[in-house]
Each structure stands twice: as structure tokens, then as C-alpha cells.
């Protein structure tokens, strides 16, 4: 039962396991969903989704499986769903529970259940054709084929009487958890979660250990009766070197970078940041105003911060290719060495460096230099989204 649904969830990237699926079956068996679509939706959501970031994906798959929804635009789903699966027995049971004897008679007059199901499927197919390209749901606002067929005079709007008027749109249709999905860009709310992602990386538990000299001293003072002293365990504070691209095309991403910057500032004990424009050359700046007093030569940076520092670039990597491959290509000053040489030098010292790119991943192919830098980084370029940040932090650690 609902195996398709389970498989589709996995396909859509909701990490459901067999264990949870069986848990749902068990819940169904003891009658927790009591043949109410909405209750079933709540129940399956509670049993199968364990992270609010996946709620939106779940809503979409649920819609597809139980309503005949069009698949989301190409970039979100792996492949469009060709047919609309309609769980017949489900609808039948649902109908039986809800319809009055009179209504059932009406249905019989229309040619019985089977006929009805057939018409229903036809209608669904038709409607899909008509709405191609849009994201309209079948079943909203009274255009539902369910209603049109007289399947249930009130549409398939099952639920509690008190909020009847809100039910014209299905609960999962509202997609209220959209802004919790992790592939959206980091926003004001999401930055807090991202910040915590970094915290995981920065400190690993606060264990305490026995302070042996302290204990001996205290026990001696205590006339030989034991007096234990504990000290917090020293933990390995992560040292981060943050290099930010500012100006030019980065102006569009100022807010995002600002938020990331403020997040990292509070999270790491050892944080050094430098600014560059488009690509790091032989100099970087401590201040975004690029004053001569704030300059720091690349050689000095390499010598000051050893390999134990983790290097993070933040930049859109969008520039003229000459800036990367030609000497003198930099737009601000004369550079004796092309940008990629400087970048390689940095990467030789910090081999695990990552590049965070505020440009959405799907547009990366459109800019030559993004590809070039991604090659230089050996694939360690990540979009500046929560999910990308997560991957980046993992790569930075290993």
C-alpha cells in the first residue's frame, strides 16, 4: 500500500527509510488516519519527514501522488511524471465514508464507481494538458473534476467544519514550508540555521576532564579527604581565513555576504578576513575600502597563516577571462602574474579551501570564469545556500 508514494518520496530526495514507512503502515493499521485524507497527510508527514527542510518537497510529492499534480519545473524534479496514479481504493473508501445514501444513488445513476473513476482519470488527463507549463493544481477552487462529476457535491473537501472555507486549497497545496527548504538562498531567517551549521563545525561538545594537579592540591588542603577538581576540556578551535570578493558584480549579493560574514564572525574564535576584487592577486586588503594602509601582500598572508587555517573564498567568480589567464588582466592594478597563478599558490598552501558562490548553481554554466575557477578548485565550489554551505563545511573538514 502506498509503495509508489514511498518510492517517489525517495526519488524526490526526501530521506525516508523502510523503518519509517513500516511505522506509517502500523499507524494506519491501528486506524490513526481514519480514512480522512487530511489526517493521512498529517500522519504521513509526521512519520516520514524528520526535517523541516524536507517538508516542502514532501508536500509536492504528496500532491503528485494523491491529486494528479503536475511535476514541479524541471530543475526541481529529476523527471516529469508521465501518468497520474490515482489510488482507487482510497477514494472509494473515502467516498463510502462521506457520502450519504442519496448521494450514492446519484453516483449509481452516473454509471457507478468504475465509470466514475474512468471519467475522473480522463478529466485529470485533460486538465493536465490544458495547464501545461503552469503550476495549477487540479482540484482547486471548484474547478475540480471531483466536483464537476458530482462525485461529492462539496468537492473533495474533507475535514473539520470550522475551517471549511479555507479548505478550498488543500493543506499541502499551500506549501507553507517553502521557505524552510534548504536549496533556497540564505535569507534573514535561514541565516540563523546556517550559523548553527557553522557552530557544529567550530566546537565539538563541551566535555570536562580531571584536573590532576588541582585535585591533589585541593585534597591536600582538605586534610587528605578527596576533593575532585574538573577543568573544561581544551578543544580544537577552528581557524578560518575568509576571503571575500567585493564590488562590481558582487554588489547584487551584498546582503547575502553580509549575513554570512556576521554569522562567521560570531562563530569562530580565530577568524581573519581579507577582501579582494574579482580574483585574488598579489595583494589582499583588510578593509573593503581598499586603502593602501590596509594592504597585505599575498606572500605575507601565506607566511603568516599556516596550513592549519581553513580558507574560504566567497565570490561570484564572474569576471573577464583575461583577469584569470593574462598578466596585467586585473581591472584595478597591474598584475605581473595572471590570477590563476595566484589562486593556485593559495590552493597549494590551503589544499582544502572551498569557494562559496552566491550565484545559483544552475547559472554556473553561463559564465566562463566560473567554470575555470571551479576547475582550479577541483570541484570544491559550492552555492551559497544552506545545503551548499553544508557540503562546503564537510569538504573543508576532510
Amino acid at each position: 500500500m502506498f509503495i509508489d508514494f514511498f518510492l517517489k518520496l525517495r526519488q524526490a530526495g526526501v530521506p525516508v527509510s523502510l523503518r519509517e514507512f513500516l511505522m506509517l503502515q502500523e499507524a494506519m493499521r491501528v486506524g490513526l488516519a481514519d480514512f480522512d485524507v487530511e489526517h493521512f497527510y498529517f500522519l504521513s508527514r509526521s512519520a516520514l519527514v524528520k526535517d523541516e527542510r524536507h517538508l516542502d518537497r514532501f508536500d509536492q510529492v504528496f500532491g503528485q501522488c494523491f491529486e494528479g499534480l503536475e511535476p514541479p519545473p524541471a530543475e526541481a524534479g529529476p523527471e516529469p511524471v508521465a501518468t497520474i496514479p490515482l489510488p482507487e481504493e482510497w477514494l472509494r473508501k473515502l467516498g463510502e465514508k462521506l457520502l450519504t445514501a442519496e448521494e450514492k444513488a446519484q453516483i449509481e445513476a452516473l454509471g457507478g464507481w468504475d465509470k466514475l473513476m474512468e471519467t475522473l482519470k480522463q478529466r485529470l488527463a485533460e486538465q493536465k494538458g490544458r495547464h501545461q507549463g503552469g503550476s495549477k493544481w487540479i482540484g482547486t477552487a471548484g474547478t475540480s473534476p471531483f466536483g464537476a462529476n458530482g462525485y461529492n457535491p462539496e468537492g473533495i473537501r474533507i475535514g473539520q467544519h470550522e475551517s471549511r472555507n479555507r479548505r478550498a486549497v488543500k493543506v499541502w497545496d499551500k506549501r507553507e514550508f517553502k521557505n524552510l527548504a534548504d536549496n533556497v538562498e540564505i535569507g534573514t531567517r535561514n541565516i540563523k540555521v546556517a550559523l548553527r551549521r557553522l557552530r557544529r563545525f567550530a566546537r565539538e561538545g563541551a566535555a570536562s576532564e580531571l584536573d590532576l594537579p588541582g585535585t591533589i592540591g585541593a585534597t591536600a588542603k582538605n586534610a587528605g579527604y578527596l576533593d575532585l577538581k574538573m577543568v573544561p576540556e581544551r578543544h580544537n578551535a577552528v581557524k578560518v581565513l575568509l576571503c571575500l570578493d567585493v564590488g562590481g558584480s558582487m554588489d547584487d549579493h551584498v546582503k547575502l555576504c553580509e549575513e554570512l560574514f556576521s554569522a562567521t564572525r560570531t562563530e569562530f574564535k580565530h577568524l581573519q578576513h581579507f577582501y579582494f576584487h574579482n580574483c585574488p592577486y598579489d595583494t589582499m586588503w583588510k578593509d573593503a575600502r581598499f586603502q593602501p594602509a590596509d594592504r597585505m601582500a599575498m606572500a605575507d598572508i601565506l607566511h603568516t597563516f599556516d596550513q592549519s587555517w581553513k580558507l574560504i573564498f566567497v565570490g561570484d567568480a564572474s569576471m573577464s577571462p583575461y583577469e584569470l589567464i593574462q598578466p596585467g588582466g586585473a581591472i584595478d592594478s597591474w598584475n605581473a602574474e595572471p590570477g590563476q597563478v595566484c589562486l593556485r599558490r593559495l590552493l597549494a598552501t590551503y589544499p582544502r579551501a572551498v569557494w562559496l558562490n552566491p550565484v545559483p548553481e544552475k547559472y554556473w554554466g553561463g559564465t566562463t570564469t566560473i567554470g575555470l575557477i571551479e576547475q582550479l578548485m577541483e570541484g570544491r565550489m559550492f552555492p551559497l545556500t544552506l545545503e551548499g554551505l553544508d557540503r562546503a563545511m564537510q569538504r573543508l573538514m576532510h
Binding site: 498529517f42 509526521s46 514550508f177 548553527r196 561538545g205
Partner: protein
Amino acid sequence: MAKFTGTASYVATEDLKVAVNAAITLERPLLIKGEPGTGKTILAHEVAQALGRNLIAWHIKSTTKAQQGLYEYDAVSRLRDSQLGDARVHDIKNYIVRGKLWDAFEADTAPVLLIDEIDKADIEFPNDLLLELDRMEFFVYETRETVKARNRPIIMITSNNEKELPDAFLRRCFFHYIRFPDRETMEKIVEVHYPGIKKLLVREALTLFYEIRDVNGLKKKPSTSELLDWLKLLMAEDVPVEVLRDKDPAKLIPPLHGALLKNEQDVHLFERLAFLHRRNQQR
């Protein structure tokens, strides 16, 4: 099996009820997440009250260890007792200190066990509790006894998302994300907390409240608990409705805003917005 349907002092949405009842019926832990101030911890109290069970709350800190929830062997006081020649020292049982989980397992009627803010603890913490929460039993090495739950307690776990919880742990739980309540639910919540509060005041206050939540760039958006505090203040001060409704740009900052905005930067932001607004109006 008793079902949870909300209480006189707690408005539970339909999806929350389903999740709670599923967790109760299948005897699985329920993991609750949501914005701060949306009533995660309160929920456990209310469930306990509604079902007439005891509540055992285990508040987690960054130094909490899973073992502390089961039991602790107080070796230091035993050593001290032996130095002092206390007779108690011969029985190791005297030095086993029971944890919250043990208390919950031994209770006569299954209590509600709240594990509050599980994400505050070490990353390994949830993993260390897997078996105990699954089988509802654990072994005490010192006394060679197995503690088994007489009745499986109803376990509610809250998390503020500070750390990711391990998959194996999540698989065993039901999950519910408490969404920020919409206007309709919010009105019910206010009614439950301050019955008979002036309708007009609530309406104006809610409008203002949601407007404030919509302001971009706030560090901490006011949540349900802040709204309730604010309403209490408004009632105590007897602020007339007209003041709330006042769209006079000179008074753009809501009265008693300290209850809503908890952050100096947010207050500044608000003042700045008010200033800009005023200037625009003068032009």
C-alpha cells in the same frame, strides 16, 4: 487509549493533534521543532495535564551526558564515606543516583517524559540514547540489574535546530514542526489566555503584530509568547485602542514595544524606519 485534543489553555492545530496522538498510540518519541516561542516545551506540560499523567522534565545543557539520564555512580562520595568509615559504603546501591529516564521507567502510570532542547547537548548524545528509547530498558553495570520500563512513557523531545540530529535517531521518532500560527489560530490563542479581552484591542494589536513580523531585517521576529506578554502589558496599562490604530507617522513606534522587540538593533531599525516614513510624508 486517551486522545489528546488540546486543553483549555493550549490551542492545538489539527496536524499537531494527529502527530501527538500517533506518537502516543505507537509509543514512539515525538520530536518537536519550531521557531522559539511557539510553545514547544509547553506542549509537553499540556499533554501531561490533558492525559492526567505526571510530567518528568529533563532539561538538556551543553554538558549533559546521556548516562546522566539513566543513572550515575557517585564514586567520589563512596570514596569519601570509606575514608570516614561510614557503614553505607558496603552497598554499592547507595551510590547509584537515578536519572530522569529511570524515574520515568519506574513510574506506576506511564508519565510524560520531556527531553527539552536536545540539540544543546553533544552531537553524540541522541545516539547514546537510541537503545534506551527504543527498547525502553537499560543495564546498570554496577548492580548487574536491568531496568525495564513498567509502562512505556510518552516521550516528547524539543529541538531548536542548533545541531543536526543523527539519522538513526530521527528514524525512530515522529516529527512535528510547529509553524508560526496564522491569524485565526492566533486569535484563538489570545482568547484562551485572556478570555474576554476587548475584541477591538486584539484586532488592532494583531494587525500591528503581524506588520512588525513582516518588517524585513529584524534580528528576532516577535513570536507568540511575546505577543501574549505585550497584550498583558497593553491591558495593564489600559492603552486605548485609538493609540494602536493611530497611523500618525510621528508615533509609528508601537506603544510598549519593549515587549515585542528584544534586540537593540531591532529597535534602532524600527526608529530609523519611522524616521524615513516621517520624512517621506513631509515631502
